[in-house]
């Protein structure tokens, strides 16, 4: 999209613990779309996500910068930024015994927004439970509700709202995986932007509007799933043979396609 709307990273180089976690990554995501980041373990997906959330310190960023609607992230006021984008971290350990409702209200003080967000993630009626007593999947959905509540209200300047999700379906069963991906796509359809780090290539193929494939700190392919998720790209990225096929109904699916023993 022209005009620089959305998140954009150009030539981003990030040094973490003495190694280049991102080595010249070019990435962009526009509002109205669900953009997935995929790639093998250690390819820099989470580091890219942390750069997009504004969490990485200026010292870690060796080159390049992240912009939101054309403005460098570092220049945006933290409060304003919090109105425009919410983040679902990969894992979150909560100190102290908060109730689920209290956790969601850390995102938005408005009780109505909190209750609505809990209903959206299928946790209606869970508000009075203690967060620590939930299962891993329920905790992840409660955190998603917190993120949804944080950006429930459009920002004052009318800019698009964003959800940045780091492996949003990692600890969910398949029904909730699909429910959460639908929710994310619905958020994008209503004009918001979604960036999700994904491990499941099939869910990615089903739900993403755009995909960025990462290898060794770089984006090696980006575009709509049909263009970015090809046999050649995926097989090279994951260093194992993969075949992309079309399902009878609609959409792509990916099958591992390796001779016995090649994956071990």
């Amino acid at each position: 999209m022209s005009g620089g709307a959305g998140f954009r990273a150009e030539g981003l180089r990030v040094r973490l613990g003495g190694r280049m976690a991102l080595d010249g990554a070019d990435f962009s995501a526009r509002p109205g779309a669900l953009t997935a980041i995929v790639g093998p373990n250690g390819s820099g997906k989470t580091t890219l996500m942390r750069a997009l959330t504004g969490e990485l310190s200026g010292r870690a960023i060796a080159a390049g910068c992240v912009t939101l609607d054309g403005r460098p992230l570092a220049q945006l006021d933290p409060t304003l930024l919090a109105q425009r984008r919410a983040v679902l971290p990969q894992a979150s350990a909560l100190a102290f015994p908060f109730t689920v409702l209290e956790v969601v209200r850390l995102g938005a003080a408005d009780p109505a927004a909190a209750v609505a967000a809990l209903a959206q993630v299928g946790l209606a009626g869970f508000g009075g439970r203690f967060y620590q007593e939930l299962s891993g999947g329920e905790q992840q959905r409660a955190q998603l509700a917190r993120a949804l509540a944080q950006v429930a209200r459009p920002p004052a300047d009318g800019a698009a709202r964003w959800l940045l999700l780091d492996e949003p379906v990692a600890s969910l069963d398949i029904r909730h995986q699909i429910a959460v991906m639908r929710l994310a796509r619905g958020f994008a359809r209503s004009g918001g932007g979604v960036i999700a780090v994904m491990h499941d290539l099939n869910l990615t193929a089903l739900f993403a509007d755009a995909v960025a494939v990462m290898v060794e700190g770089r984006i090696v392919a980006a575009g709509p799933p049909e263009a970015a998720l090809t046999d050649a790209v995926l097989s090279a990225a994951y260093a194992c043979e993969l075949r992309v096929n079309m399902a009878p109904a609609k959409g792509l699916f990916v099958l591992p396609h390796a001779p016995a023993g090649a994956l071990s």
Binding site: R50, T53, E55, L81, A82, T99, E102, V115, G128
Partner: protein
């Protein structure tokens, strides 16, 4: 907005705001009642009601009762309220900063660091150029205790916390090391002290409100009041930190600023409390912990409620220490430790499974 969410609706499941408000008001009433009783109870037979009647134009009060009430009991009560509130708030803020219910200035060496500062101020007072010493006056001891507490908190945070996560084991062990180091340096200073200074140190070290006077109160109050005023401003940031530093930043919290302010608040409250009354333990653990069980960990309520509860606990403990062996009195540190020690063991027992040391 659905109709059931508007005013007058039953409270939402999981929303403890109503209870928190009620508990906070209840604690304020409890503190007021304890304060009134504490002005009435004591070795001397003086009643505040008589003084109030005298002020209202009734029979004049004899001079002894006047002195007992205005120059002994009232400053002691005020000191108990301020120190109790300071101990509880410094505990609650420190626990929020370290994301751990066992962090308490008294347990992890911050109190010892503040004590070292206070001792240094007393023993080394003569070494200061008279101009500076005179300007600092009574503030020298609390300010030095604040500095000592600040340095210890900073060291402890650097050692025990990595990327926003605190290791309980490292925190407690580092606290032991800091406490030992501060104790050793304090020992050197005490060894250097002359007889008059030793007497001052002994009275101070007993952990007592017995020496409370308007002068000591005036010296400690500014730091404590500053810490109590700053605490509510930290509440949202500490709530965010409960989710971790990254998530707090995503919520719009200026993490670095909140952490620095929290360290300063802990040091100011704990330092001034230590300077004023020596080491009084466990208030900073007991008050926030019991409140988290009843009103939840939301710091917007936890911090003010802790201040009120800590003040009430200390005023109550002071009454016990004054009446248990009357007309003599127990150092208040003995009373709080006798109650707080078993309570702390109970916390450990309850949390054994999750502490993961």
């Amino acid at each position: 907005m659905p109709a059931e969410l508007t005013a007058g609706a039953p409270p939402l499941a999981g929303d403890r705001t109503t209870r928190a408000r009620a508990v906070t008001l209840g604690l304020a009433a409890l503190l007021a009642a304890l304060a009134a009783i504490s002005l009435e109870v004591g070795a001397a037979d003086a009643s505040f009601l008589d003084l109030a009647r005298a002020w209202a134009g009734g029979a004049p009060l004899d001079a002894t009762s006047r002195v007992v009430l205005l120059d002994i009991r009232l400053p002691r009560l005020a000191m108990g309220v301020l120190v109790g509130a300071a101990l509880a708030v410094s505990g609650a803020v420190m626990q929020g900063l370290f994301r751990n219910p066992l962090a308490d200035p008294g347990l992890v060496g911050v109190g010892a660091g503040a004590g070292l500062g206070a001792i240094a101020a007393i023993v080394l007072a003569g070494l200061l150029p008279p101009a500076i010493g005179g300007a600092l006056g009574h503030y020298a001891t609390p300010l030095a205790a604040f500095a000592g507490g600040w340095v210890s908190t900073l060291i402890l945070y650097r050692v025990a916390t990595r990327q926003g996560r605190t290791s309980v084991a490292v925190m407690l062990l580092a606290g032991i090391a800091l406490g030992a180091l501060a104790g050793a340096l304090s020992g050197v200073l005490i060894y250097m002290a002359d007889d008059a200074q030793l007497r001052d140190l002994t009275f101070w070290g007993l952990g007592s409100l017995a020496g409370a006077s308007w002068t000591k109160l005036a010296a400690a109050a500014p730091l404590i009041l500053a810490a109590l005023a700053a605490a509510p401003l930290l509440a949202r940031g500490l709530n965010g930190l409960a989710l971790g530093e990254g998530a707090a930043m995503h919520l719009g919290v200026r993490v670095q600023r909140v952490k620095s302010a929290a360290v300063l608040t802990v040091a100011a409250a704990a330092g001034a409390a230590v300077a004023a009354s020596g080491g009084i333990g466990f208030i900073g653990i007991v008050a926030p912990h019991l409140l988290r069980l009843t009103i939840g960990p939301d710091h917007r309520w936890l911090l003010p409620a802790s201040a009120l509860f800590g003040a009430a606990l200390l005023v109550g403990a002071d009454m016990v220490s004054r009446t248990l062996v009357a007309p003599a009195e127990l150092p208040i540190g003995i009373v709080t430790a006798a109650v707080g020690g078993p309570f702390f063991l109970w916390i450990l027992l309850r949390n054994r499974a999750t502490l993961d040391l």
